[in-house]
């Protein structure tokens, strides 16, 4: 038992007040001559004992009342020994509460987040009243709801009560970094950062940085408080369109990744697909997923209508609901226009530079080609200008020697605005001339050297047969799909990949030769993409056009390029969505159907230069969003907010690694391995007892006819 305000105990002297009043009343005597003395004496004799007892009772009750009030103000508490670092005492602390998506894991009727909140509240209760506390909610971003430690602990309690989980991933390092910066200037109290988290391993990805921060701030203790131990979890960690172009009516291959984050293998996992919030359009069953492993399934669907669609993959419910489904947005196209620019001037169809390519792009019988989604057109390099490029979704340069500066400029503008360019060199291709044409040269992801020809000294180079890294060629990692190792390049331009431009991405190798040199590369330029092969698409350059993989490769390349914009349709929670729409929609209001099916006003279609743009920032929840412009029944756009797959792994970090964060020196400076913490306060009970005594005193005084 101890007192938080021991100085108030001096007020126990107030017990003397009722005694003094009692005595003063005895001494404040009025004298009076009296005749009827015998009646008085008789009454006194009869009541003397009773009066003394009543007086004593009242005096005791009144003294007790004063004593209880003084004790209540002194705030008596019951204290118990608690191990060091578990809280209590006077501190300046930053409380970091993990509100990432993994904290939504249910544990009975509550969630990990509820447990963490309760643990934080309990710790706040153990603090001395003169402690300072700040509060931050940490996920991939830090919301410092009480940015600086303040003495108003009730503010932290209130904010804790109002805190909610997010669908974001976990990055504890940035929250801890901010907390260190906040506490660094404070002096006069022990400083502490207390992190209430489920301790999933991905949250501590930047453990090295955190350890560095701990080392740099020896006066600030970092105390991770793990909540729970992470339960089993099955999650949809990936959903993508694989293969060709997503065109209306065409079968579309969908790839779903399902991961098992349990300690035991799971069996018979049902995976279903649905489109546009409709019931399931397809289901499959994964027979088994090993413990800690993942399984990929492929399903085929088709969209009847062109336009923006949502595609959702779902697994059976479990403790973490948020990762049981994953949604992507798909722009299903109606038609694609491809422009093939041929450098060679040959009339015979079969000898034309784009002949094999054209057949691979439209791999259907002639009578069906008119109804095919892809429309082909041909042009000469000299005719290449802005008008020729207008309406083209993708441009193929085949055996182009060089381009005139205006044509190169038009082509560069086309790519920067989102056009796709694929370059197949040919016998006429002149890298030196390309280099001279800056606009063309700058588009290319690699510097091309002079044309090389295979001969006895340098035999034809074959393509790699495995370990494909690019989505376009990843299909051939599966031996059952055939091999690209039989493709041999007879004449080629040696390619040297360009370094990554400032703020941009380095070129990606589409496919390599068996010796590791790149056979094809691609990169993004402006809003568009450029693919550069080292050889052409005629048999005199390579046997690729004659290889069975040629058509799938072209179709996959076409699909990849047409979907390159779709990366922007998958956002992280909180990331803003931007969509270019028709100019006619400018100024009109738009609304967004949220993942939970509710509609929310989004504002108006804005003008951004010549473009009309829809912007929407309220993307905190994972799931599919559909954008509707006022007056339209069909969505003009769709996008999906996706959960960080790492968030599904609920396994906690090794506790020994966390323990290492609490510095031994810090423990030593605290002086004791255990300390007293308040487990119970008694003042409310004392005040209640005093109230009861007050009522009792009034009743007794009334009964005893105490007028004074």
């Amino acid at each position: 038992m101890n007192f938080l305000q021991p100085a108030v105990l001096g007020g126990l002297a107030a017990i003397g007040i009722p005694i003094a009043i009692h005595l003063l009343n005895k001494f404040r005597v009025r004298r009076i001559d009296w005749a009827a003395m015998r009646f008085l004496a008789d009454s006194l004799r009869k009541n003397e004992r009773r009066l003394k007892i009543e007086d004593l009772i009242l005096l005791v009750v009144r003294c007790l009342l004063f004593a209880l009030l003084v004790l209540a103000f002194a705030r008596p508490v019951w204290q118990a020994l608690a191990s060091a670092g578990t809280g209590g005492g006077t501190v300046a602390a930053m409380v970091l509460l993990d509100n990432s998506a993994s904290m939504q894991e249910t544990v009975g009727a509550s969630t990990r987040f509820d447990e963490a909140r309760q643990a934080a509240l309990k710790w706040l209760d153990s603090l001395d009243a003169d402690s300072l506390v700040g509060l931050g909610l940490v996920s991939t971003r830090s919301d410092l709801v009480v940015p600086n430690p303040v003495p108003d602990l009730s503010l932290a309690r209130r904010e804790l009560g109002a805190a909610r989980t997010s669908d974001r991933g976990t990055d504890l390092a940035q929250g801890i970094r901010q907390a260190f910066a906040t506490l660094a200037p404070l002096t006069g109290r022990p400083r502490e950062i207390r992190v209430f988290t489920d301790s999933q391993i991905s949250g501590w990805d930047k453990l090295a940085e955190i350890q560095r921060l701990v080392a740099q701030n020896p006066g600030i203790a970092l105390v991770p408080v793990p909540i729970g131990e992470g339960g089993p979890n099955i999650a949809v960690t990936g959903l993508s369109i694989d293969g060709g172009v997503a065109a209306a009516g065409l079968p579309l291959r969908v790839r779903v990744d399902v991961a098992n984050f349990c300690d035991a293998p799971v069996q018979n996992i049902r995976v279903s697909l649905s489109t546009d919030r409709s019931p399931s359009v397809g289901e499959t069953n994964i027979p088994a997923i090993p413990a800690g492993g993942s399984q990929q399934v492929e399903m085929t669907i088709s969209f009847a209508e062109p336009g923006p669609h949502l595609l959702t993959a779902t697994t059976p419910p479990d403790a973490l609901k948020v990762d049981n489904e994953r949604t992507i947005a798909v722009n299903v196209i109606k038609t694609v226009s491809a422009l093939i620019v041929e450098g060679g001037e040959v009339d015979a169809m079969a000898d034309r530079d784009g002949y094999f390519l054209a057949n691979a792009l439209v791999p259907v019988a002639r009578d069906k080609s008119l109804r095919y989604y892809l429309g082909l057109s041909f042009a000469r390099p000299a005719a290449l200008d802005a008008s020729a490029l207008e309406g083209a979704d993708i441009v193929f340069l085949c055996n182009v020697a060089s381009l005139a500066a205006p044509a190169a400029k038009a082509l560069s503008d086309y790519v920067h605005k989102g056009g796709k360019l694929v370059v197949f060199p040919g016998p006429l291709s002149n890298p030196a001339a390309w280099r001279a044409t800056t606009d063309l040269w700058n588009l290319l992801p690699a510097e091309a050297g002079p044309l090389q020809t295979a001969d006895a000294a340098s035999p034809a180079s074959s393509w790699q047969s495995s370990d494909f890294e690019h989505p376009v060629t990843a299909l051939w990692n599966d031996p059952s799909q055939g091999s690209l190792g039989a493709i041999r390049t007879l004449r080629y331009l040696p390619l040297t990949p360009r370094p990554a431009p400032p703020g941009g991405q380095a070129p990606q190798i589409l496919v390599r030769h068996a010796d590791g040199t790149p056979a094809a590369l691609e990169w993004g330029v402006g809003l568009g993409r450029v693919v550069l092969f080292d050889s052409g698409v005629t048999p005199e350059m390579t046997n690729l056009p004659l290889h069975p993989a040629f058509v799938p490769l072209v179709q996959r390349l076409l699909g990849y390029l047409t979907r390159s914009q779709e990366a922007r349709l998958s956002l992280s929670p909180g990331e803003s969505f931007r969509l270019n729409v028709e100019g006619a929609l400018r100024g009109r209001e738009f609304s967004v159907m949220m993942p939970d099916g509710t509609r929310r006003g989004g504002g108006r279609v804005e003008a951004e230069g010549e473009d009309s743009v829809i912007r929407f920032g309220d993307t905190q929840s994972v799931g599919g969003y559909q954008v509707f412009v006022a007056g339209g029944e069909r969505p003009v756009g769709a996008f999906a907010v996706q959960l960080d797959p790492a968030e599904s792994n609920l396994r906690p970090i090794d506790p020994t690694e966390l323990a290492a964060l609490t510095k031994p020196s810090e423990k030593k400076t605290s002086g004791v391995e255990s300390r007293l913490v308040i487990t119970r306060e008694f003042w409310p009970a004392l005040v209640a007892l005093a109230a009861v005594l007050t009522v009792m005193e009034m009743i007794l005084a009334f009964r005893f006819s105490r007028a004074r």
């Binding site: 009343n25 005895k26 404040r28 005597v29 009025r30 004298r31 009076i32 001559d33 009296w34 005749a35 009827a36 003395m37 015998r38 009646f39 008085l40 004496a41 008789d42 009454s43 006194l44 009869k46 009541n47 009066l51 009543e54 005893f704 006819s705 105490r706 007028a707 004074r708």
Partner: protein, 297 residues
């Protein structure tokens, strides 16, 4: 000059009501009250047969003429009475919580009674006592003596204890003839002595009226706070909080009053509570009116 103890209002009401004897009294002259002696006065009472020695002037000649028998006519004789007014002069009578003490109230009441009695040509004798007779004024029927009575009353100062044994015995000796005895006292004495005194007065044929003179504070005990009570008839002191014992005191006091009342009733004495807080005229006229309404025996 003597203090004027006469309350004009009380006297005025007393004059109108008068203090008539409720029993047969033995007067010494013709008055307004019935005498025990039948004589030959004004009011015919009865016939009796003549016997030797009777005055033949009272012979009823008409009866003798008609019946030839000798009858004497007898008449009732009205007489006056002597009222003995006894005022308690013990120290306890000095108590007064209001403007007047019990003694002063008793003196004024005695003066008014004396005046009313003298006014109706009856006689008044005055006795002042505590443990025994302290002063005595023999009977007088002269209204002119009222000032003398008041002087004697005013000059008296209360001291000593209350004791009825000796004082009421002395009063009984003075009131040998049947008359009215009026006792004004707080009666804070021995109740047995009071009873024996009243018994003797009653056996003497006196009509006894007891004016139980009490202060209002003694009846209601209204004090709050802590008091030290000092005995007016001794050295005793008691300190207490009156509020604590009020209930018990009032019960004791009321029991005592009821015992006094029963003693009075036992000896056919009128018990009149004279609360000093009430106007004298109200106390006096109230009793006289009651007395008038109850009529003669």
């Amino acid at each position: 000059m003597a203090e004027n103890l006469l309350d004009p209002q009380a006297v005025s009401r007393g004059e109108a009501l008068g203090l008539m004897a409720r029993r047969i009294v033995e007067g010494y002259r013709v008055g307004e009250h019935r005498s025990p002696f039948h004589g030959f006065a004004i009011e015919f009472a009865q016939h009796r047969e003549y016997s030797a020695g009777d005055d033949i002037r009272h012979l009823d000649w008409k009866v003798l003429g008609r019946s030839d028998r000798y009858y004497i006519k007898q008449y009732e004789q009205d007489t006056n009475y002597v009222a003995h007014i006894a005022v308690d002069g013990s120290a306890s009578m000095n108590y007064g919580s209001g403007k007047v003490s019990k003694l002063h109230f008793a003196k004024a009441l005695a003066a008014c009674l004396a005046y009313v009695i003298l006014l109706q040509r009856d006689a008044v004798a005055l006795m002042l006592f505590d443990t025994e007779r302290r002063d005595y004024l023999p009977r007088t029927d002269s209204l002119g003596r009222i000032n003398h009575i008041m002087n004697r009353l005013a000059a008296f100062e209360a001291t000593g204890h209350t004791s009825f044994g000796r004082s009421l015995e002395q009063l009984a000796q003075e009131a040998k003839r049947r008359g009215i005895v009026i006792l004004l006292s707080d009666l804070f004495g021995d109740e047995e002595q009071l009873a024996s005194g009243l018994q003797r007065l009653a056996f003497s044929g006196n009509e006894v009226i007891v004016f139980h003179t009490l202060d209002h504070a003694e009846i209601t005990f209204p004090f709050t706070g802590v008091y030290k009570f000092r005995d007016l008839e001794g050295d005793a002191e008691l300190q207490t909080s009156p509020a604590d014992i009020r209930k018990s005191y009032l019960k004791n006091f009321e029991d005592y009053r009821q015992r006094i009342r029963r003693i009075c009733e036992k000896f056919n004495a009128h018990y009149v509570l004279a609360d000093t807080e009430k106007p004298l005229a109200e106390v006096l006229s109230g009793y006289l009116a009651f007395r008038r309404n109850t009529g003669r025996r």
